[in-house]
Symmetry: C2
Subunit: 387 residues, 2 copies
């Protein structure tokens, strides 16, 4: 079979895909990794202990297929029922499941073009198009458009204000750029890569007007002043996404969860793999929830480091956006952001740069330990001094 023959075995939609590019995970010695928003501190010693203790003959058994124990604990934490919760192989899995449960793929590229052109003409066609629309604010998590492409849906990217704040309902209505009937809308809150937090009041108003499913992606919320969990329990069409990766130092274990109405949560359960969450991940997450004191201290430390680091960057003429996360988005002085990326890399410091127009002049820098941030500041001074 030649390459053309082989290509015919792969769906045209998949052939055209550009995969999501995760942040680099290099194995260079002495490298300072400030590029993927990992927590600089290990998980609670009690988590390490619980996971170690579980590494025994039980590995031969299937894990609980719906993470029942963990869901019960989460239900208690969020004062809801187990049926309000689904656990995923990282929240990434759940974001993908949401596209498959709530959004119709646009049948073919041809059909898609057609339904777009009739969008303004015909209300029922518009409704049809909304049923296969994934909507998100931009800039935000760069995975959303990838998920849309994989599922073959229409994308509607709504611009945030230039300072990455949320446009008001009035502004969204006037600009006619927001599809209030979109089948699925992702809102990263606090925003990534912007770092800005959104008030529950503003999110409440947005949710109030949306007709499709809204996912409030709170991956960074433990570093923020407020969270919007109440909206997932108030509105039947609103889901809140959380992860154990960042705040709970468990990236390695792949555990995230959604909270929302049992009907929507039930639909997600129907389309997931039977044993989607590995057993040790379930044990780690349960143990993490049992040690809030450790993590509260952890968050406080990171917030302190963030504020000090932001002040130091400002002194070096970096423009630093206000952050409610464990990273800062910053516009560096003197050189283009991409030049900084290279210069930092030369000094074995890895940060994240995004090519998207709104953020291409910025660097996203993860908050590490105070020592790590001091190393960054020293490197920045050297780069500026050498200019």
């Amino acid at each position: 079979m030649n390459k053309t023959g082989l290509n015919n075995l792969i769906r045209p939609l998949v052939r055209e895909l550009h995969p999501y590019v995760p942040g680099e995970q290099p194995k260079v010695k002495g490298l300072l990794k400030l590029n993927t928003n990992e927590n600089p501190y290990p998980p609670s010693p009690k988590v390490i202990q619980a996971v170690k203790a579980a590494v025994d003959g039980r590995l031969r058994l299937y894990p609980n297929p719906s993470a029942e124990g963990l869901r019960a604990r989460l239900a208690k934490l969020h004062r809801c029922k187990t049926d309000n919760i689904i656990v995923g192989n990282g929240s990434d899995e759940l974001l993908a499941l949401a596209t498959r449960a709530f959004v119709e793929p646009a049948a073919t590229a041809a059909n898609r073009r057609q339904s777009r052109s009739v969008y303004r003409l015909n209300r029922s066609a518009a409704r049809l198009s909304s049923a296969s629309t994934i909507q998100y604010f931009t800039p935000s998590y760069s995975l959303y458009p990838v998920l849309s492409s994989i599922h073959g849906t229409t994308q509607n990217a709504v611009h945030l204000n230039p300072d990455f704040s949320l446009p008001s309902i009035g502004e969204l209505r006037r600009a006619k750029l927001c599809d209030f009937r979109a089948a699925l809308t992702f809102i990263t809150t606090p925003n990534a890569p912007g770092g800005r937090g959104y008030s529950t009041a503003a999110l409440n108003e947005l949710c109030h007007w949306m007709r499709g499913v809204v996912v409030l992606d709170e991956a960074y919320v433990d570093f923020a002043g407020e969270d919007a969990m109440e909206l997932a329990l108030k509105y039947p069409h609103v889901l809140v996404s959380r992860t154990f990766s960042k705040a709970y130092s468990l990236c390695f274990q792949r555990v995230g969860y959604f909270v929302g109405h049992p009907e929507l949560i039930g639909a997600l359960h129907k389309v997931r793999d039977s044993y989607n969450v590995n057993g040790l991940g379930q044990i780690a997450a349960e143990a993490a929830l049992a040690d809030p004191t450790y993590y509260q201290r952890n968050f406080k430390t990171i917030l302190g480091t963030r504020d000090q680091f932001s002040a130091e960057l400002a002194q070096l003429d970096f423009e630093v956006l206000p952050s409610q996360t464990n990273f800062v988005l910053t516009r560096p002085p003197k050189f283009d952001a991409q030049v900084w990326l290279k210069k930092l890399r030369d000094r074995k410091i890895l940060v994240r740069w995004f090519s998207a127009l709104e953020v291409r002049n910025y660097l996203r820098i993860t908050i590490g330990t105070p020592e790590e941030m001091a190393r960054f500041v020293k490197a920045a001074e050297a780069i500026l001094g050498a200019a």
Copy 2:
């Protein structure tokens, strides 16, 4: 929002889904679990040691996004390249990814009905229909029709012979029940729940005639006399699926993999989650591959137990099908299989019963330790004696 309003948020296809029902995982004390084909022996002590040693601060970091180390080891084992391999969150994830990468969803139920009715009339319509057909033999892994329903494709279930052997190409052609152009065909080999092994020669002939992607699902192959890995490296349209769950006692960790042509493997990489395999699972699987001696002994023990158990069942007038797996499918004497299920459950022994017509008179019994199988035989004798 009332329930009807909520329902409108969920895709009609998903609303109609009946989820896959995994084997029961109860927490009854003293229960003998012979229902989900788990290995009765723990993983190699070296695996336990390697995983325990990895439970430290690194849990805070993302795992290798494409399981590079594990893929390199697997490539060496199967004498192929890293590009020939994708690792999944259990092989279940990869089976689902294959549906999304290779099979077009049938646009709507109405379209589906239409394209079915024209199937015999029009060759190009037939080709269209094949592009959205998932085909599998029946009985086999009951997940395949579920994956088809989730992805919204046409299903073509091809009956195995009454003794669960594969029909010959001649028989398949004459019966006109096999769609040789189906976009994706799953073949469980050795078969589950039948237990029968298929010769590489027979699979080779089948693959030769198939025009779409063929997945040889070798979940149980380590307990069989031969495997068909060579076909994945010979035919560009053939993928072999393997898992660390059963043979390697790692169900808890969720690690499976596919081997095949880089173009097909690349398509699967494009549609997977960025960090789909948890880090400790990657470490466990690598350590398992490093201790073949332990596992070869393990397989030999299970095969010995299987043969002895089969002989003992036969003496009690159970009809036992020949097995190349770590379970046996058996037609019990005196009572209906479903009655046996209940009577065994009353004696705290769990086995698997399937409601499908071809197997409803059978029980599927996992091979445990010799002591566990002796307990089963004793219980069976008591049930027969009490009759």
